[in-house]
Symmetry: C2
Subunit: 191 residues, 2 copies
């Protein structure tokens, strides 16, 4: 940020009075321009068949991580709820209709100022189709998942939590909320 978005005067990075960290402050109009983390919200669309869970993944048509696989997810928008965002991103990126269940994972990615959240979901039909941000959309069983071609650590970690919880069901386990901090990137160049 170089200029005040309210009056176009150059801003300075200083600690405002009664604050304890540097902010972009406008000496002309007095505006303080706060910068805060963003939320990336998605779903884990599950299709159950022959006693096995298949997960709908999207191969990214955009940077970062073009060509890599991800759960449908994206930046939460103003005027929507976290559940709205999960439904919207799943429709936009995977053309998929889902029934949303509870919040399943919350992952902090502090070094890029993001919090990622994924809802567990049931895929309602097989009429999914790649949106403009996806090259292809496909169902994967646990053994079929391309673990070395997953776009983001938060997606890989969420898939691991999902299959661990699912395996625990037969021993009386259940799905629960998983919180996790990502402290290093899967591939250093991407973050």
């Amino acid at each position: 940020m170089k200029y005040c978005s309210e009056c176009a005067h150059p801003v300075s990075l200083i600690v405002p009075p009664d604050d304890n960290r540097p902010r972009y402050v406008c000496a002309n109009c007095g505006a303080i321009h706060y910068q805060n983390p963003k939320m990336v919200i998605g779903s884990i669309p599950v299709w159950e068949q022959d006693g096995e869970a298949r997960i709908l993944l999207c191969r990214r048509a955009i940077e970062p991580r073009h060509g890599y696989w991800t759960l449908p997810a994206g930046f939460m928008e103003n005027n929507e709820t976290t559940a709205d965002a999960a439904l919207r991103e799943t429709a936009e990126e995977a053309g998929a209709r889902i029934e949303l269940h509870e919040l399943f994972s919350l992952l902090n990615v502090a070094h890029v100022h993001q919090v990622h959240m994924f809802y567990r979901a049931t895929l309602l039909d097989l009429n999914y189709a790649a949106g403009t941000e996806s090259l292809e959309v496909k169902l994967f069983t646990e053994s079929e998942i391309p673990w070395d071609q997953i776009a983001f650590p938060t997606v890989g970690q969420t898939l691991k939590f999902f299959f661990a919880d699912r395996a625990s069901l037969k021993n009386g386990g259940s799905y629960g909320l998983h919180t996790h901090d990502i402290t290093t990137s899967m591939r250093q160049r991407d973050y």
Copy 2:
């Protein structure tokens, strides 16, 4: 937003190519200025005594809702995790040391572009003290809580969820994650 923060040129609110909602776009340098929801993170600091839970609340010394009671909470900052934010806000507003437990509530306040989250926590000692944003800080049992003087609907709802879960413990219940959408303001003038 009136001017581009990168080049000081006036911005226009238009739908960019390959997008589906209006953004502030700079016709001079091409920057798209996205605006996204913010996270407000806090804690529920609990002090157990004589078989009763006492919750630490802060009376606000700042607007909005000056003079009303809140759980310690505030805007999450860049470079921190949600847990970091809960610990920091509890220290700043209530001068309190806590042990953080699991995420307890996530509340969408879509009409003000916010998501509020509260962690369950144990107050570690009674050496708390009002920070610069609090007039006073005080422990309340459930019956003592000033329900009609709670600053924000997300705080009142979180306290209700907390005491309901706590009451369920003696019947084999447990604390769980509560998600909830706030669709109207407690007092219209405040949101």
